[in-house]
Amino acid sequence: MNILVSIKQVPDTKVIKVNPKTNTLDRSSAPAILNPYDAHAVQEAVRLKQKHGGKVIVLSMGPPQAANAIRKCVEIGADEGYLISDKKFAGADTLATSYALYKAIEKLEKEQGIDLVLCGKHAIDGDTGQVGPGIARRMGMPPLTNVINVESVDTDNKLIRVHRKIEEGHEVIESPLPCLLTVEKTINEVEYAPLPNMLRAARYEPYVWSVDDLEDVDIKQLGLKGSPTIVGTMWPPEKSSGAEMIEGSTDEQVSRLLEVMNDTQELLAVKGGDGA
């Protein structure tokens, strides 16, 4: 069973800083990492490969440095990596991104056959979760989002059964293969990679494709041109009039706080009622 995992390199949003004066991003300070959800997707693919055979292929769209994110996937156990990288892809929103990835997957599907596509639930930079379902729609595959468990794969009948997280719990759903899953972090633990994988990853060079390496591409659907959404204005989040600051010694602060909480009427009543 060949499994393709679509992965993205993202700035570590925990470290990213915004200059409050200019409203611009200080990206340089944020290290680029493999989108954490995608790491779980790769781990799941490796787990399925170990059970059912085949290979794990990772695919990413991004600048040349994104090769590092692909190497990270090789550490986890991916067999092959493809990076589609071209100025024409730049500035893509989720619709244009899913188009470019779809074109690459289509080619890989033709060359080696793909039985399952995995994505992360969302990328932590944009946090949209739109690319996965977009790829699925274009590939004509059923998308199964927010997957927390792959219960079984029946390679003979080409069926997969997964658990999808929903608000009230989860649903068990069955789909024919090929299909596309987007995975939650809880689906597995990313394992500490064995040393031979580390050595392989350190040496690994992914295949790099430009637009010209893809077939029948409609340039108009790529990059900035192919993106229906654009970012309008950016502004710092609205500041309200600000809080009433409670000053004084700790004791004074505490007693004023109690007053405030008392004023929030129901408060003590709730507790009193429960305690009775």
Partner: protein
Amino acid sequence: MSIEEYKDVWVFIEQREGEIFDVGLELLGAGRELADKLEVNLCGVLLGNNVKNSAEDLYAYGADIVYVIDDPVLENYRTETYMKAVGDLVRKYKPEIFIYGATSNGKDLASAVATEVMTGLTADTTMLDINLEKRLFEASRPAFGGNIMATILCKKHRPQMATVRPKVMKKPEADFSRTGKIIEEGLGLKEEDLQTKIIDIVKSAKKSVNLEESDIIVTAGKGIKDEKGMAMVKELADTLNADLGASRDVVEAGLIGHAHQVGQTGVTVTPKLYIVIGVSGAVQHTVGMQNSDVIIAINNDPEAAIFNVAHYGIVADAFEIVPKLTAELKKALDKEGVTTNG
């Protein structure tokens, strides 16, 4: 495609077993304002099995028209059926704006529909507006580590779509005197033709905590540092009979489960009292709690952004003030206990 042909504001109404999710009603409230500005109809889109009866309820929350597809195949959400249903409706009736609740299924559906009808989609928005001059939908969301809000536009494609987090918009008062119109359509799909099958729906034993329902929440941020700080905050919460909330950093540090995370990627809460300790106040956190009735923030940094959304602020070391506050509260509650008993 001529974009002038597209009008009306649509809201996807998510339901399960005929019960309508609150987020759909909240979005009708927000959608009403948009529709009024544009002087167009506000429409609900209700899909399911035996849901027609619920359609009329939507008038009370602001809908002028409700599009209904009632079909056994739509009993439970599946991307392939819902995407087809919504896609058909969009192609036929051409909405100008289409908003969905950012639930698991809402996001899934919106993403699939965006690709199906080839249009733009803005995820997880927290503010919606109209630029009347350009007749454009302005959907805004926090971006990049939370220090920035960005407005996303979709100029040349229709519908202009967005997902909106539950509880960010206010559910409108119901007005049962309002009336409207139902437009029913068929689906044209048979169960045998479908690829995916729902085998089972497993409802988890009631969520260990459901902050969305809480009246009082005491939230811990990274400023509480470790287990000891967490225990300290928990004691305050217990004393107040409150539920525990947490910032993402605290959840990621493994100090508490994800169900307690408040904010963009956690839950959105609206308690009567929200006490927030050692949280810096990144927008991703504040979008999830800013509609609380009373917000009290404790932070040792006078510049902390959390004070911008708080009603009461205390600049203090949490490790000093929280134990004292807990002790004083215990005393006060004891007294109260005595009076009620006596």
